[in-house]
Amino acid sequence: MTDHGWMAAEASPDDRFSVRRYGDRALLVEVAGPPAVTALRTALEAAPLAGQVDLVPAAGTVLVVLDRPPTDADVTALRRISPDPRPPDVAAPLIELPVVFDGPDLDEVAVLSGRPVRDLVQALTGAELTVAFGGFSPGFGYLTGLPEELRVPRRATPRTRVPAGSVGLAGPYAGAYPQESPGGWQLVGRTDAVLFDVDRDPPALLRPGIRVRFREVR
């Protein structure tokens, strides 16, 4: 055991994921991408580690927070989980998000994706998206499943104020802002769906695993 990262250097036997120590209450599991993140998150929700208090799925990692120091047995247990993406869960709820496509960056995104605005809107409403993870702010979901040609870079200069309900694109993700906040995503539209409500159960509309379609409204 070295003085740091004693698990960091150890990849899984088949190099599919590694487990990193993260202080004295957490382990960070590194996987190949969003589908493997989903597989790992689903497995840990169904069969939590002893003392598991929180899970933080992200783009290529799942942070497992415990109420006790992690042990070698936890690492072994995490390695036994198959990070193989399962077939899409057809039982996962499908949410239709009503979107008015009049965002300030709509024209620029059309140019960047090499198609007229009408075709862009059709491509966006035709895609079946999945919430891969959250984390930016309460109720924000990173939606994966965009067609390759709709992947556009973030704005060079982030906006200091993005209104609540704005629908945007950035890299491989689409998303909708539950609260007004700063943001660098390319804004293509807006939704009046209530994305986050602490008095609702569940409070977040876009939770990891949920399938989403944009439905155009005018």
Partner: protein, 283 residues
């Protein structure tokens, strides 16, 4: 019921926070110095889940509207009742109309006021804590607020005074290597654990910003955002580390060089601007 006559620079309601919501972007929050908040609850015989007041840099004055058993812990703010000195770190009875005041603590930053029964504001996602980052939970206290007292009292309190040390303005915090130590230059860990770090003025419940020698990156590409924990020492591009506290963002996109051990988080939460902290590698 108690009435807030003065709220000081920042007083919030805090309990043990809202764990379990990270995947929808909600951070844990809760008392920044959990040990002091737990002690305050114990001194008045509260259930550990009872909400207390977290008083930043003193300045709080409250009036009891009925007989209340209270205790003040954490940063040793001078306690007064109707202007006369009163005990710290021990239970104290206020009769109706009496005014409890907290002065500026000589060391430390956050004092905790527990009331037997707990502060009974409505829960949000299972907690009464104010999350200053997302705005979840009750607004910070303002003068004129009236706070109900709940029924989260457990056993009759048995402790008269707690023997705890006062916070240090020059603490040494134990750190474990972070998950992305390899993203920083090899010297970064040594620099972090050998040099003194000064807490800067733009520190808050989200985190402490530290000033010291720059910590250089080994990799300059973009790290995809990943989960954070309280105590994570993250190094942004400017090389000045941030030590995250209770209201840390759920995820962050800069490498975490080190993680303060859980036992030393209370000491970190008591640091105020100008204090000097050192980090010592542990197990």
């Amino acid at each position: 019921m108690l009435t807030v006559l003065a709220a000081g620079p920042l007083t919030t309601v805090q309990d043990r926070g809202r764990p379990g919501w990270a995947e929808i972007g909600v951070t844990r929050s809760g008392a920044a110095d959990r040990a002091a908040a737990d002690l305050a609850n114990r001194l008045v015989g509260n259930d550990p889940s009872a909400a207390v007041l977290e008083v930043t840099a003193g300045g709080l004055r409250i009036r009891a509207e009925r007989t209340l058993l209270v205790a003040v812990t954490g940063a040793p703010a001078p306690v007064t009742v109707d202007g006369r000195p009163a005990p710290f770190d021990g239970p104290l009875t206020l009769t109706p109309g009496q005014v409890l005041g907290l002065g500026l603590p000589p060391v430390g930053l956050r004092s905790y006021l527990a009331v037997r029964g707990g502060i009974d504001v409505p829960t949000v996602l299972g907690s009464r804590s104010t999350d200053t980052l997302s705005g979840l939970g009750p607004a910070p206290l303002a003068s004129g607020d009236r706070l109900p007292v709940g029924r989260l009292a457990a056993d009759e309190p048995v402790v008269d005074v707690a023997a705890v040390g006062v916070p240090s303005s020059r603490p040494v915090l134990g750190v474990l290597p972070g998950p992305r130590r390899d993203w920083l230059a090899p010297a970064a860990w040594t620099t972090l654990t050998r040099e003194p770090w000064t807490v800067t003025a733009d520190s808050n419940r989200v985190g402490l910003r530290l000033s010291g020698p720059a910590l250089d990156r080994a990799r300059t590409d973009e790290l995809p955002s990943e989960g954070l924990v309280p105590g994570a020492v993250q190094v942004p591009p400017d090389g000045a580390p941030v030590l995250f506290l209770a209201d840390h963002p759920v995820t962050g996109g800069y490498p975490v060089l080190a993680v303060v051990r859980t036992a030393d988080l209370p000491a970190a939460a008591q640091l105020r601007p100008g204090d000097v902290v050192r980090f010592r590698p542990v197990g």
